[in-house]
Structure formats: structure tokens, C-alpha cells
């Protein structure tokens, strides 16, 4: 019951939010929330720490931008193209990295994403240091004008909700159950006959595709695809968002993303101090609540629920 009420409340908040907050800020936060959720599918549910997820966000941003601006394709096709490109890149990255464990996996994904960064810097169609600017937003399905900010907001919200639902379903599916088994004890999963590399690769591609969807959507919001999107800072930021909010929880990355985007927004005038403050928050978080905000809240709720039961048993 509480669940349904809070879900309805969340939906209402999401629908009326643009009347109370700056829509661009909300859209940015939603894009990053989707990015963090996609990343969390890998870190929280398979136990794989990728340090190259900016490559998927960024490559989708470039492909979408190119498709909109140069090829003049409609937004729905452009986003699809961006998402598809990220999925393909994910297949390649995953194929190369998936057999490695722990820190080696992180290093390989980082190295591969750096290659994507240098490619974006050098390639003729990515605009080098400038990126692709003034990307038109176009008309969704030919008649929905995405230049209207409120329309754009609801479109971004719809993309986020769709992506989040895909992730939620994945986690709560037969496939997700195998992923959890791999996270908990990979040799055991293998000895039960699961070819775990294939499951990990599939999860990697899903995560890359959804990260790409976030990047593609972000490109429409900011009308820009730039080197920031493929920079390793971006890969680090998504780790921060996920850990801050709580990895392995479905809402944690959303909370983490909103928090980080808020901090960046309100502290933007402090310049490079933002990075230091962000780093400070990260350190405090890791030291104080290792499960992240949502993770700790859930643990607390469980404790509170357990206590009255124990009292009952005594009386």
C-alpha cells in the first residue's frame, strides 16, 4: 500500500516538477539518472566495475548529433541510431574486457574509452574541440515540436521512465536472476552449467545501449555533443553518482544523479572547487555510509521493521 502511494506521489512530482524547477536542470538530471541506472545494472547486479562508460554516452551523443544535424533524420531515428551505436560499441568493448576480473576489467574499459576519446578528438565529423554544436531538436514522429521546452521535458521523462523500466524488468527477470548468481559466486554459477561470459556480455551490451540512450537524449536537450561526453571524468562521475545513491538498488543511482547534478549546478560559480567538493563528498560517503544514501535508508527501514516484531515475540 505504502509502495503504491509513494509511486503515485513520484509520478505526480515528476509531472508537475517543470512548473517549479528549471526544466533544463531537471532534464539534465534525468539523463544522468538514466546513465547511472544503466551503469548500475553492471556494477550493482553483475559486480563489474566499468571505468569507460563515458564512451557509450559520448558515442551515442555524437551519432545522434550527426544524424540530426548532418543527415537531417528525425529525432526518434537519431536516438535509435545513437543507442544502436552504443550497443555495438558495447559489444566490442565487452567482448574484449569481459574475461578479465576486477581491476583489470576496469583498466581495459578505461583504456578502450580513452581510444574513443582520442578518436572523437581527431575524427573529421566530431568537430574536434568544439564538438557538434547547434544540433536541431526537430519534430518527434514528424509533428511533436521538441523545441517547446515543456514538450521536451515530458519526452525526456518518458525516455527516462522507459529506460528505468527496462532495467527494473531486467533485474527482476530470469536473466537478472542468473546475473545475481554470477555476482554472488561465479564459479558456482559456472558449475551449474551457466556460460557466465555470455551473460556478462549481454548485461554489458544492455548497459551500454541504455547509457547510449541517455547520451542521445542529452544531445537533444543541450543541442550539443562534445568531448566532455567521452572524457574519463564522465566515466568517473557516473561511478560517483551510483555509489553515492547506492549501488545495487533501483532508486539509488537516480538519487545520486540528482544530487551530483544539483551540487554541480548550485556550486558552479565556485569553479574548479566543485570537483574538490565532489571529491570530498565522495570520500565522506565511502567512509560513512558504504551502501549509499538509498542503500543505508533501506537498511534502516529493515531494522525499524524488524524491531517491533522482536518486541512482539517477547511480550
Amino acid at each position: 500500500m505504502i509502495r503504491i502511494i509513494s509511486l503515485v506521489a513520484l509520478i505526480i512530482i515528476a509531472l508537475v516538477a517543470p512548473f517549479f524547477f528549471y526544466p533544463v536542470f531537471l532534464m539534465k538530471a534525468l539523463c544522468f539518472a538514466l546513465f547511472a541506472c544503466a551503469f548500475n545494472l553492471l556494477l550493482g547486479y553483475v559486480g563489474l566495475l566499468s571505468f569507460g562508460h563515458a564512451a557509450f554516452l559520448g558515442s551515442a551523443a555524437y551519432v545522434t548529433g550527426h544524424s540530426m544535424k548532418v543527415l537531417g533524420l528525425p529525432p526518434e531515428l537519431s536516438i535509435l541510431a545513437g543507442t544502436g551505436a552504443a550497443a555495438l560499441l558495447g559489444l566490442g568493448f565487452g567482448w574484449l574486457a569481459i574475461r578479465r576480473q576486477g581491476i583489470y576489467f576496469a583498466m581495459i574499459t578505461l583504456a578502450l574509452s580513452q581510444m574513443v576519446f582520442f578518436f572523437a578528438l581527431q575524427a573529421p565529423f566530431t568537430g574536434g574541440e568544439d564538438g557538434i554544436q547547434a544540433i536541431p531538436r526537430g519534430y518527434l514522429l514528424g509533428f511533436i515540436d521538441l523545441n517547446n521546452q515543456l514538450t521536451l521535458y515530458y519526452f525526456v521523462l518518458a525516455m527516462f521512465v522507459f529506460g528505468w523500466l527496462v532495467i527494473y524488468r531486467t533485474i527482476h527477470s530470469p536473466f537478472g536472476q542468473v546475473l545475481k548468481a554470477i555476482r554472488e559466486n561465479e564459479p558456482r554459477a559456472i558449475s551449474l552449467g551457466y556460460r557466465t561470459d555470455q551473460y556478462k556480455l549481454m548485461a554489458f551490451v544492455l548497459s551500454a545501449a541504455l547509457s547510449g540512450m541517455a547520451g542521445a537524449t542529452k544531445t537533444l536537450v543541450f543541442q550539443l555533443a562534445s568531448l566532455t561526453d567521452v572524457h574519463w571524468h564522465m566515466s568517473g562521475e557516473v561511478v560517483l553518482m551510483t555509489l553515492l545513491g547506492g549501488m545495487g538498488t533501483v532508486f539509488g543511482p537516480v538519487v545520486g544523479a540528482f544530487l551530483v547534478v544539483t551540487i554541480q549546478n548550485y556550486l558552479a560559480q565556485l569553479g574548479s572547487w566543485v570537483t574538490i567538493i565532489q571529491g570530498g563528498i565522495f570520500v565522506v560517503c565511502v567512509l560513512l555510509f558504504r551502501r549509499g544514501i538509498v542503500g543505508e535508508a533501506m537498511a534502516l527501514a529493515r531494522k525499524l521493521r524488524k524491531k517491533p516484531e522482536k518486541e512482539d515475540a517477547v511480550s
Binding site: P174, F175, V178, K180, N185, I190, S191
Partner: protein
């Protein structure tokens, strides 16, 4: 020798770790339907043999045949798919999942939906009855909704056996299935192994010699990576070299 007689055969199986042979020139034959025990002092190489058989380790030399088919280069997951399923010496369960979920994961593969990320996991409840039957067989029914990681050691081992059985193995490899169990648990597990072996073959590493003498038809004694003796329990246990190598070292 008819190829149907032996489920598992190894020829000259060896494993070297940086100049040290943990397993050397082991030629083992496991007859169909037997409960075959692999015994030997600590460090004799028993677990390493299991790891070689199930491809968690690659042999330095030698061949492995399963039902007459060479599997020396087959991957570990495929070994399990062929019906050769192992348990681990150090209990291996999925600690944050419930007992029911643990067994269901072992059963789930046959549904053919394990890659379906769009399907609800409610579809897995079709496996509940069989999962419960397996939990009952190992005496864990009442704990079905407990988190596996919270179980005491002996019960984790029992859960592991239930998971291995869920795969319907033709050949079951058990690495010290009764280690760390209470006497009561040992009786139940011994009984269970006896029952499940009726239509399958079991190869087990076991330190508890009363369990071995109760269950096994054939025993292979391993010492320093090599086979020291092989035969029925009554014969092998009387061999002086076995007594000095194994029984004399304080085991049993």
C-alpha cells in the same frame, strides 16, 4: 573394456604448479553406477583432481574421457551441461539469495529463458515445487525463505548438494560433502547420497571413513598427487602402505 562400463576415465592426468606436481600421472576409472571414493591425506591432490575433471584447472598433461568422449578441452559450464556436476570443498552457495532461489537457479537453465531479460521472474515460480522437493530431500524445508548466507556451515553444504542434484547429474562429484557437519547431518547426507546414487554415479572425496565404508564400492587412495592404491574398501583398508600413508596420519 566396453566403453559403456566406465563413466569417467583419465589417462596420465597431471597438474604442475610452478615445478610442483599436485597431481601426477593419475589414471582413474569410475565405473557406471558406483559410489567411488577418493581418499588421501590433506594436500594429496584430491581437490585438484576435481578441478581438473570439471575444467576449473587445465591439466598439464593427460586426457579425460566422459562416457567415452574426450572432454580434455571442454569448458567448465559445458561439463556441467553434459551431466557432470560438482560441489565445492569450501561451501559455495549464493549468499544473499534465499534457499529457494538458490535451488531455483540450479533448476532454471532447463526452462530455456535464462537470457530473457524482458520476462518477469514470476515465471520462475513454476520451479517452486521441484525446488521444495529438493530442499526437503536435504532437510531444509523450513529454511526455504532464509538467506543462504545466514545458514550454519553444515546446512550450507546440504543446500549445495540440493543444488547439484537439481542439475540431474549423471555423474556427481562431491568434495568432502560431510566436512563440518554434525553427526545428525552426516547421517542424513550419507543416507541421501545412498539414495540419489541409485540411478547415477558418484565420485566423492571424503575424510570420514565410516561414511566411505558405508557408501563406497571402490576406493582410490591418493598420496602426493599419485595413486597409491585402488580397490574395494575391505581390501584397500588392509594394505600396509595405505595404513601408514593415510590411516596412520590421524584421520578417521
Amino acid at each position: 573394456m566396453a566403453s559403456g562400463e566406465f563413466v569417467l576415465e583419465t589417462e596420465g592426468l597431471s597438474k604442475e604448479f610452478k615445478g610442483f606436481f599436485a597431481v601426477r600421472d593419475v589414471s582413474l576409472r569410475v565405473r557406471k553406477g558406483d559410489i567411488h571414493a577418493l581418499i588421501g591425506p590433506n594436500g594429496a591432490g584430491k581437490t585438484t583432481v576435481f578441478n581438473l575433471l570439471t575444467k576449473f584447472l587445465t591439466p598439464t598433461a593427460g586426457r579425460i574421457l566422459y562416457k567415452g568422449e574426450e572432454i580434455t578441452k571442454t569448458g567448465p559450464a559445458d561439463i556441467a551441461r553434459k551431466g557432470m556436476v560438482r560441489s565445492f570443498q569450501i561451501s559455495a552457495v549464493f549468499p544473499h539469495l534465499s534457499l529457494l532461489e538458490n535451488v531455483r537457479i540450479a533448476l532454471q537453465r532447463e526452462l530455456g529463458t535464462s537470457f530473457h531479460f524482458w520476462k518477469s521472474d514470476d515465471s520462475l515460480s513454476a520451479l517452486n515445487d521441484r525446488a521444495m522437493a529438493l530442499l526437503e530431500a536435504v532437510g531444509l524445508t523450513e529454511f526455504r525463505n532464509h538467506t543462504a548466507g545466514d545458514l550454519p556451515y553444515g546446512r550450507k553444504r546440504a543446500l549445495e548438494i540440493a543444488m547439484a542434484l537439481a542439475c540431474e547429474p549423471r555423474l556427481l562429484l562431491l568434495d568432502e560433502p560431510t566436512a563440518g557437519m554434525t553427526h545428525e547431518d552426516i547421517v542424513r547426507i550419507t543416507d541421501l547420497i545412498g539414495r540419489v546414487s541409485e540411478n547415477r554415479t558418484v565420485l566423492m572425496v571424503e575424510h570420514n571413513l565410516s561414511v566411505v565404508s558405508n557408501l563406497s564400492n571402490v576406493i582410490t587412495v591418493l598420496q602426493r598427487g599419485e595413486i597409491l592404491a585402488e580397490g574395494p574398501y575391505e581390501e584397500v583398508s588392509k594394505m600396509p602402505e595405505v595404513i601408514s600413508a593415510y590411516l596412520g596420519t590421524g584421520h578417521g
